[in-house]
Amino acid sequence: MALQTIPAAVVVIGLILYTLLAGADFGAGVWQLSAGGGEHGRRIRDHAHHANAPVWEANHVWLILVITVLWTAYPSVFGAIFSTLAIPIFLAALGIIGRGTSYALQNAANARQRRYIDLSFAAASIVTPYMLGSVIGAIASGRVPPGNALGAEVGSWTSATSILAGLLAVATGAFLAAVFLAADAERLREPDLVESFRGRALLAGVVAGGLAVGGLFVVRADAPRLFDGLTSGWGLVPVVVSGVAGLVSMALVVLRRFTQARLSAALAVAAVIIGWAVAQRPYLLPTTVTIEDAAANDTTMIALIVSLAVGAVVLFPSLVLLFRLTLAGRFDPTSQGPAPVPGGPVTRERRKHAAQTGIGFLITGVVLLTIAEPAVAHIFGLIFLGIAMFAGFRAVGPVELASRPAPEVAGRSLRELLRRPR
């Protein structure tokens, strides 16, 4: 039983982290759109951009993790969700392309071009979370049947629950972003930006909180089973936690204690997702497919859980490093590291025999890979060819080659040659 549930827990954890981290990146996009013109608007946009640029890719990958775990552990559920909800998922995908493209462009654009890039970036930042939220709404309200595209293509994700979940995703992202950006602005000692984002945090907090509370009534009418799950038994705990943490974070924002507000805001949003997961258990697709129905065979589950554990050991220290550097302000535009220290002079290049080595390994590699038959010989042949390439690179010595004075590249141009016969 635990074997079948652990990957589902990983999916929920992945979704929480995606919502908290990438959700805040989306929210920053919303604030870029509403920054307004002029110098102040430009500073708001730049601040939102600088805070995201080093981390957005890592934040985005949580979604990939969720998807891959879902299709490995519960393949039939993945197939059902992605075929029935193809439209919102495809629209979310287009938004993801738009955001990625904007980040790629941002580095090279001038101020005027950046304005247009920001616009498409902000539009994508609203479409993607809305669509992903509406997907969650469709699943939670039991509108995704098992099988290949057997649910309503449009009706499944345009119900009241889906609309609510979509709006909630956009609003919580904006709230998280405003709190996080206010904290970042405080670190950067930009009092006017702190005030701007404080106001935005309060506004978004009221909207998100209103949606969450009002949403309960929508859910009661549209998805009674989900409502029962949220308002009775264990499901009630995360709902209460979310409400309390939300109020606490608003109070902390009012008191300008942004670092603590960050944590309680994150808790408030995470609790919403936990509440949904608890309310829906044991179903993956209410009320047709349970975790146990959909789970892959035990061998796959064990292999997946071991991989996830090993991956986590590598991943979490790396993530901690990234966020420590970011939150300590090491990537801020104003940050300066140690001055570059010139290395010692190169006394001698040991590449005298590289050419001979390369040719020797190349010939042996050809014999072993191309002429010999046994598979073992092929393995050694490939290793030898690899060494031959490495030695060949050293033998050419591109850096030394380029350091030598080179003749101008000159000769007859194509045009001159073509003109000649006349």
Binding site: A80, S83, A86, R330, G343, A355, V396, V399
Partner: protein, 453 residues
């Protein structure tokens, strides 16, 4: 689960998937090889303290991050499409192959984390720490592609599971993915291709500078490093490719028959260059007797399986596969010739070539390398048709039942056109950014010992 669905747009779904690969795969090459080149140049900076190398590595890292951003989103689309277009494939076999993507997800994670640290860490980390932060990018790029190709190898040569009544009844994902004898040649062929594509595309960009007369030490270095990588990889790729073809002959004889247009099972089969396949034979082609038997099995009289060994509906579209294969081999051969010429001139003259014709050839090799790459993937993927999991599930059993594929295809094509234009624009812009400090051309002062061999 495997009833055939009425999907009118199977071909469009396949084209949409193919389009997504065409945009993503060249970026994968840069993920495999570019970090290694950037780190090589930065390592030269650490060793010599020569600012030129630091400037070059830093500017390349900006290109790297732009290409990585494009790779992130196009890779995400591919993972979405496994559900959007082929839900039945994933629903049926996800438990067998999914693990490969889960591990790939982690390596992608590391790549994303350290690319953030590396690119934003210039000037803000100590030089050594900065260099070290780049190493995981290079490793993760290779591990990630390894995992994806393991899945592809499994699709071509499925094993490690039992299958009854259209359902997987038991599976061993680790054996299916990593115990599979088929995928090694795909991976190594692709790994070497990564260096060829990255090398030639970047070298082509600086060859344009050479032809325009901008040929200082900075440009020469930026040309020589990727050119050397491509030059050592291209000739080796011919050998690896030959080995890969022999593996295909052994494990996927029908694909080999399609690559060579061999209609009937033949003893001492001939190899045909160009021509057109129709009614079970290649017409108007240049035939070389017995060569196919020799290449495939090292014996001029060996028997090569033809397409007639499977029913017509199980045969891939021969001319597509065959022409893709011939394009790859042709392009690969041209690149190998340019590479050998470069190595020969380096050996005989000890300098970079001076003839503009050489640089024109390199400019041509940039797009040619991408043609070879895509043609290679068309060969292996179309050569697997009509199967998605060879011998177990056909593409029409895997496709989604949802409508609207043509609309999605059109939208994706438009968005990807925008993406390609945007990335091209970024690269041109980055290449035109004036340099903060013009790199010193007087090497004797900065780099006194570089003449010493």
């Amino acid at each position: 689960m495997t009833d055939i669905l009425a999907q009118d747009y199977l071909l469009e779904a396949r084209q949409m998937q193919a389009l997504s690969f065409v945009v993503h795969i060249p970026l994968v090459c840069f993920g495999i090889a570019f970090p290694a080149l950037v780190l090589f140049v930065e390592w030269r900076y650490l060793r010599t303290g020569d600012e030129l190398y630091r400037t070059l590595a830093r500017r390349w890292s900006k290109v790297l991050v732009a290409l990585f951003a494009a790779g992130v989103v196009t890779g995400t689309i591919l993972s979405f499409e496994l559900g959007l277009l082929w839900p039945n494939f994933t629903a049926t076999f996800g438990e067998v192959f999914g693990l490969g993507f889960a591990i790939e997800g982690f390596s992608f994670f590391l790549e994303a984390i350290f690319i953030g640290i590396y690119v934003y860490g210039w000037d803000r980390l100590s030089p050594r720490a900065h260099f070290l932060s780049g190493l995981p990018i290079a490793v993760a790029g290779v591990v990630g592609s390894f995992m994806v190709i393991a899945v592809n190898g499994w699709m071509n040569h499925p094993e490690g599971f039992t299958f009854e009544n259209g359902r997987v009844t038991s599976s061993n994902a680790a054996r299916a993915l990593f115990g599979n004898s088929y995928f090694w040649h795909e991976f190594i062929h692709m790994y070497v291709a990564g260096f060829i594509v990255t090398g030639f595309v970047i070298a082509a960009a600086y060859a344009v500078y050479a032809l325009r007369g901008r040929w200082g030490r900075y440009e020469r270095t930026a040309f020589a490093v990727p050119m050397t990588a491509a030059a050592v990889a291209s000739p080796v790729q011919l050998l690896v490719g030959d080995w890969a073809a022999r593996e295909v002959a052994k494990n996927q004889p029908v694909k080999l028959a399609a690559m060579e247009g061999l209609g009937q099972t033949t003893k001492g089969a001939a190899l045909h260059v160009v021509g057109w396949y129709q009614n079970g034979e290649v017409v108007w082609g240049l035939g070389i007797p017995k060569l196919l038997s020799l290449l495939a099995f090292h014996d001029i009289n060996s028997t090569v399986q033809g397409l007639d060994t499977v029913p017509l509906e199980d045969q891939p579209p021969v001319n597509v596969v065959r022409y893709a294969f011939q394009s790859m081999v042709g392009a690969g051969t041209i690149m190998a010739l340019v590479a050998v010429l470069f190595l020969y001139l380096r050996w005989r003259k000890g300098t970079l070539p001076a003839s503009p014709w050489f640089y024109r050839a390199v400019v041509l090799c940039g797009p040619l390398s991408i043609v070879a790459l895509l043609a290679g993937w068309i060969t292996t993927e179309v050569g697997r048709q009509p199967w998605v999991v060879y011998g177990f599930m056909r593409t029409e059993q895997a496709v989604t039942g949802a409508s609207g594929i043509p609309v999605g295809y059109g939208a994706l094509a438009a968005v990807y056109l925008g993406l390609v234009i945007a990335v091209g624009w970024v690269l041109v812009r980055l290449s035109r950014v004036p340099m903060a400090e013009p790199p010193d051309d007087r090497i004797d002062t900065v780099h006194p010992l570089s003449h010493v061999e």
